[in-house]
């Protein structure tokens, strides 16, 4: 039973990870990629680690795995935020189908965003 649960968690996590990978490949622009993938992989890794905890059933392991999860959940959004912000300020282009941009009004009242690939 333990094995089944643990194995399933591993598989589920892997699938989420794969999904985020596919997402980062398929999404049309940087922002959608970030929106779509950061969390997916966070969740995926969380599940895999839960599976690991279940497999070992050792307090030391569990605490370390939980530490990773907590840490990931703490840092992943911050990382996404700093990159997203830098990208936006660095004029990484939005997908052409982007509906609305209320940020631009503050940052660039007049000009339109132009691409600036590094």
């Amino acid at each position: 039973m333990k094995e089944i649960l643990s194995g399933s968690l591993l598989l589920m996590g892997s699938v989420f990870i794969l999904l985020s990978a596919v997402g980062i490949l398929r999404m049309p622009d940087l922002y959608t990629r970030m929106s779509a993938t950061t969390k997916a992989s966070t969740l995926g890794i969380g599940l895999v680690l839960l599976g690991t905890i279940l497999f070992w059933q050792d307090f030391g392991i569990a605490s370390r795995a939980i530490a990773i999860i907590v840490f990931l959940f703490l840092t992943a959004p911050v990382a996404a935020h700093v990159i997203g912000r830098a990208a936006y300020l660095g004029k990484v282009p939005l997908w052409e189908k982007t509906n609305i941009d209320e940020f631009k009004k503050r940052e660039h009242p007049s000009d339109s965003s132009s691409s600036m690939p590094e």
Partner: protein, 157 residues
Amino acid sequence: MNLLLLNILLAVAWMMLTGEVSSGTFTAGLLVGYLLLWLTRPAWGETRYFSKLLPVIRFVLYFLKELLVANLKVAYDIVTPKDHMVPGIVAVPLDVKSDIEITLFANLVTLTPGTLSLDVSPDRRTLYVHALYVKDAGQFRRELKNGLEKRLIEVMR
């Protein structure tokens, strides 16, 4: 917060008493301490240390549910053609005030799939959020404020 400190001290004391220094005895100590503090709560005057427990648990559960649901939604999008996405950047006015509240809110927004906190305005009144489905900016704002922000404020204050 003083009670939290006391709680930790109690946990350490528990650890000493049991003579076993490990994370297990420490956690046990924490629980025992919490229980003891709760039992002796009149001694501590007016505190919300005990009334917070439930809302925190509720909030975490709510968030995990959101996380899973949104993840599935995005996952669905990833594996199907992308044309039905309507991304946009929305300015969300903030009711949260302190640094920690703003940070928590922004991070939770980001953690929720489909949305990404891009920046906080210098006056700290607006959060710019990129989202995958913004058919209507007003509705998006309302959903965010009534859902996540309201619950967060509930927990924090």
